[in-house]
């Protein structure tokens, strides 16, 4: 069977991770600056007050004046989602993440491990963590499993057999189907409010009115899954990262670039890399005021050349919307090969560089971790002497 684990309003829960008390109050994810003013995910209290995800901001505030708007935190959400996926993988589930908050796995492999489907789903929910209020569903088809997880209560699982799938789906609301908001409204205007009602319509008529997306939704409503494929477990990403915490917020691009150089040097020196060049990297920053920022860079050709990596990542720092308190460089993917064309003649200074590294290694061995640091100038023009430069420990 295919199992689905769902965390409703995952992006909002992730943004409220540090302020769990807000979860009990009417709150909604604020729209991103420059985008259409529509609210994102909402808390249960906001939903009870009539606020729905995708509602216009003015309408939502009119409906619930005490509505708290929560700033989106994509980096925290991504990190939290990765942690959840890893906990599931550590418990033996070969997961296929669909989107943050929705993950599938094939239950066949783990049923034997945990003594049945129900204990396996229970174990998966425990791996996600009760704080996220996850729900699980299992069925022969993906959509039925997702729908089952969608209607299960927090911390509970629901198993739908193939014979019962059609009857189970029939009374459920249309919103469970992967359709655009306008399409739901169009169907509702036609008096179609449940999945069963849609399944009862002639397929050709639905396709004519709503196009291929509507035809697919109609098939799903009927318990079929066009182009259904097996669960394809992801390849766990290699989490190799280095973080630099600044004593105060840094907004100067030159300083941030210097920080990036330090992070690159440290990351490239990590033994776990085993000589493999990075293929995909991500720059992450915690901004002043608590928001986060993240940019991913995929290299056309994997390389471990610090200068080329600097050139690829450096310009991204100019996109930082606010001063940063923390800067992190992550290797999202390493190339499988280590083979790069070697130089016939060692570069000038290579021997000296090697001797210097060896000396530093000896110093570290003598005085311990943190004994060697690099001076990074951050604000040489500052009138406050201690704000001019930072000491960054070098343990590579």
């Amino acid at each position: 069977m295919i199992a689905a684990v769902v965390i409703p309003a995952f992006d909002l829960r992730a943004a409220l991770r540090r302020r769990p008390a807000v979860q009990a109050r009417p709150a909604a994810l604020a729209p991103l600056p420059g985008t259409e003013p529509l609210v994102g995910s909402v808390t249960g209290a906001a939903e009870a007050a009539g606020v729905r995800p995708g509602m216009r901001l003015s309408e939502a505030l009119g409906m619930c004046p005490s509505l708290e708007l929560v700033e989106q935190d994509p980096a925290t959400a991504e990190q939290a989602w990765e942690e959840i996926l890893r906990r599931l993988e550590d418990s033996g589930f070969a997961v296929e993440p669909d989107r943050p908050g929705v993950v599938y796995f094939d239950s066949r492999g783990v049923e034997r491990l945990y003594g049945g489907l129900e204990p396996a789903l229970k174990r998966a929910l425990a791996a996600v963590g009760t704080a996220w209020e996850p729900r699980a569903g299992a069925a022969e088809r993906r959509f039925a499993a997702l729908a089952a997880a969608g209607v299960a209560r927090a911390g509970q699982s629901l198993i739908v057999s193939e014979e019962r799938a059609r009857a189970f789906l029939a009374p459920l609301p249309l919103q469970l189907l992967p359709l655009e908001r306008e399409r739901y409204e169009e169907l509702e205007e036609l008096g179609v409010r449940t999945i069963g009602q849609l399944a009862g319509l002639p397929g050709g008529a639905v396709a004519e009115r709503l196009g291929p997306v509507g035809r697919r939704a109609w098939s799903l409503a009927g318990g079929e899954e066009p182009g259904e494929r097996k669960v394809a477990p992801r390849r766990p990403a290699a989490a190799l990262h280095e973080t630099l915490e600044f004593p105060e917020a840094i907004g100067n691009e030159l300083t941030l670039r210097r920080g990036l150089v330090v992070l690159l040097d440290k990351l490239l020196a990590r033994p776990e890399r085993a000589g493999r060049p990075p293929r995909k990297l991500a720059l992450w920053a915690r901004l002043i005021g608590g928001a986060s920022w993240r940019r991913t860079v995929t290299l056309r050709e994997p390389t471990a050349d610090p200068e080329r990596l600097r050139n690829a990542l450096g310009p991204k720092l100019a996109e930082l919307p606010a001063p940063a308190l923390k800067l992190r460089l992550e290797v999202s993917e390493l190339a499988d090969h280590t083979g790069e064309q070697l130089e016939l003649v060692a570069a000038e200074g290579a021997a000296l560089h090697g001797r210097l590294r060896e000396s530093l290694r000896q110093v570290r061995a003598a005085v311990g971790s943190g004994g060697v640091s690099t001076v990074v100038e951050v604000a040489p023009w500052s009138r406050i002497p201690e704000a001019r430069a930072l000491l960054v420990p070098r343990d590579d």
């Binding site: 890893r86 766990p236 290699a238 989490a239 190799l240 990262h241 280095e242 973080t243 630099l244 915490e245 600044f246 004593p247 330090v262 440290k266 990590r270 776990e272 001076v375 990074v376 009138r383 406050i384 002497p385 201690e386 704000a387 001019r388 430069a389 930072l390 000491l391 960054v392 420990p393 070098r394 343990d395």
Partner: protein
């Protein structure tokens, strides 16, 4: 594949250290770390970050002590304490 992660805690270079200073009534240092002050070479004020939660309000003195040693000390108006620092 799982890798360990690491985090570097950067710290400020040239962070101020507390100093034992006896001052004249008008605020200029008389003795620094139990040594008499021979000469006040320069004096300046640094007022910065007044828009933040940690404003900076310092009165710096570049001194020559009786031992011939150079020293820079400042009085932090907010903390009400003396510190030494290379300026």
């Amino acid at each position: 594949m799982r890798f360990a992660t690491s985090r570097a805690r950067a710290r400020p270079l040239n962070a101020p250290r507390p100093a034992l200073v006896e001052a004249h009534a008008e605020g200029t240092p008389q003795r620094v770390n139990r040594q008499g002050v021979a000469l006040v070479r320069e004096e300046w004020r640094v007022v910065d970050r007044w828009w933040t939660d940690v404003p900076v309000h310092r009165r710096y003195f570049d001194l020559v002590l009786e031992s011939g040693e150079n020293a820079v000390v400042y009085h932090d108006a907010d903390a009400g304490a003396w510190f030494t620092q290379r300026a």
